[in-house]
């Protein structure tokens, strides 16, 4: 595998102390372009997708395995009408991870052909990993 040009992919936020992981941030509309570039540079395995609700926005982090190096590509999307483009055509392994992101954080995945839930059943709390207003949580008896 060729050496990956992290600077050419997006803004390198940080590298882990032991050098085993790189954190990159890109703009949401550039996601598919950057990931295609990553795929062409020889990165074949998507490890998982993490969604984080930080209270202001939703961060979606794509973790890739690049021959004993972890590449973390982060995008930020709004909390209202949250949506990301599907990457299943670039990384087939994203199928389940995208569906999980959708159900856990109420993020719409544009282009994933199997939108049904992976883990949550009917009657489960909606988007359990979203930060909820304390009052709303108490009313629903969720806390």
């Amino acid at each position: 595998m060729d050496e990956i040009d992290f600077e050419g992919l997006g803004k390198v936020v940080k590298k882990s102390k032991d050098g085993s992981a790189t954190f990159i941030e890109v703009d949401a509309p550039d996601l598919r372009r950057v990931l295609t570039k990553l795929r062409l540079s020889g990165v074949k395995r998507l490890m998982t997708i993490t969604g984080v609700d930080n209270g202001r926005e939703i961060e979606v982090i794509y973790h890739f395995d690049a021959n004993y190096h972890i590449v973390n590509v982060k995008i930020r999307i709004g909390r209202e009408d949250s949506k990301v483009e599907s990457i299943t055509t670039i990384f087939s392994g994203a199928k389940l991870f995208e569906r999980e992101l959708a159900e856990m954080l109420d993020v719409r995945i544009e282009g994933n052909r199997e939108p049904q839930n992976v883990f949550l059943c009917e009657g489960s709390p909606r988007a359990p990993l979203r930060k909820k207003d304390d009052v709303e949580m108490k009313e629903k008896g969720n806390d």
């Binding site: 882990s16 490890m47 998982t48 984080v52 392994g93 389940l96 359990p128 990993l129």
Partner: protein, 386 residues
């Protein structure tokens, strides 16, 4: 007129650790399609971790899995240590972590060999492998006080030391286990019945393994020389070992990789106990962690186990994300099952070692007539054993 029949398998089974649901379409005895549904044992652990402090979460992480509990605590501890940034885990603690992780791999792979024997109808292998597994379980109990949740790893090191008396016992057990691994490898390669049930069965192509993000023995059975232990976390950088790789990608290859790894694990443990330095086993860390994000991964018995952690300055994590090996391997089940015989389904599914094996109660649905009948496990074992 449609020829296929749909057979729902699962999700409930009294003997299953993890209930899952497989909707299998068959044409005669041949599997033509399979739909896998997860989530029957979803416990919301990632959400739970946001409400517990970093130390409490060690014990939550430990309860992710009944087999790789040690792998979860070590990875969680590593993720939090990476979050804090300047934690120097003592060398002795790194060696103890390695010993626990490898003992866990030993008992997990021996358990798998037994389950594989059971699934192909040879209970002698099941009983024999599980008997040998007990030697390892006894060691784990002597080291940690527990057979399953060891409570060994913590943030900044380990919670208990390994005494010199136990080290003598470890060396003896490693000799026994290595010999038994050779014996089981010989059985899986040469026993006619086992070869007939495993060779060429449930073959995963190299391309599919890569495409569907396979990890661990499932990946290495397809010819990929890729083992996260090569990153050198814990004490793996200090010991001599090589990953076990097989080519065929079938059930037999997966068995050979796991049994080979039993020998490798025994060798790693032997090297660790002989090289283990004296000294502290943990360093104290502050309860609050300033804002940061970090990742950690290890090679658990079933493959790569990945943690992502985010801190916000308090004593509780903002977010912990866990990707277990089976979650990554589950997509490979579909390409391995299609075109296979229905009776081979239990062993093919068990070959990725997903903690669930067969099924006690299935409903057979004839899609043409809409008829449905429920049968018990004896029916499935009957067709499984031909």
């Amino acid at each position: 007129m449609k020829k296929t029949t749909t057979i729902p398998i699962g999700p409930q089974h009294p003997a299953l650790i993890e209930p899952e649901y497989l909707k299998v379409s068959v044409d005669g005895e041949t599997i033509v399609d399979v739909d896998i549904q997860l989530g029957y044992i979803h416990r919301g652990i990632e959400r739970l971790m946001q409400d517990r402090n970093y130390v409490q979460n060690i014990f939550v992480a430990e309860r992710m899995c009944g087999i790789c509990s040690g792998a979860h605590t070590v990875t969680y501890s590593m993720a939090v240590e990476n979050l804090i940034g300047d934690v120097e885990v003592p060398l002795r603690a790194k060696y103890i972590r390695t010993i626990i992780l490898e003992l866990e791999r030993l008992h997990s792979h021996l358990l798998w060999a037994g389950v594989a024997g059971y699934e192909i109808g040879i209970d002698t292998v099941f009983m024999s492998a599980w008997k040998d597994r007990e030697y390892v379980m006894d060691l784990l109990e002597q080291i940690s006080g527990n057979r399953v949740n060891y409570g060994m790893s913590t943030i900044g090191g380990v919670r208990r030391d390994v005494s010199s008396e136990i080290i003598t016992k470890i060396e003896k057990v490693m000799d026994v286990v290595s010999k038994r691994a050779d014996y089981y490898a010989d059985v899986f390669l040469n026993d006619k019945v086992i070869v007939a049930r495993t060779e060429g069965i449930g073959k995963l192509d190299r391309a599919d393994a890569e495409k569907f993000s396979a990890v661990g023995p499932t990946l290495r059975a397809c010819g990929f020389d890729y083992d996260i232990r090569k990153e050198g976390y814990a004490a793996y950088g200090d010991v001599e070992w090589e990953p076990v790789v097989a080519k065929n990608g079938d059930v037999q290859a997966k068995a050979i990789v796991r049994l080979g790894e039993v020998k490798v694990s025994a060798s790693i443990i032997r090297q660790c106990v002989s090289k283990m330095p004296k000294g502290d086993i943990r360093v104290k860390v502050a309860p609050n962690v300033s804002e940061n994000e970090a990742v950690a991964r290890i090679e658990a018995p079933r493959g790569e186990l990945f943690y992502y952690a985010r801190s916000n300055g308090s004593d509780k994590p903002e977010r912990v994300r866990i990707r277990t090996p089976t979650y990554s391997n589950i997509l490979t089940l579909k390409p391995t099952l299609i075109g296979q015989q229905l009776a081979d389904l239990p062993i093919i599914v068990a070959a990725i070692d997903p903690c669930f094996a067969c099924t006690d109660r299935v409903a057979l649905v004839d899609v043409n007539k809409g008829d449905e009948k429920v049968v018990d496990g004896s029916y499935f074992r009957k067709i499984d054993r031909g």
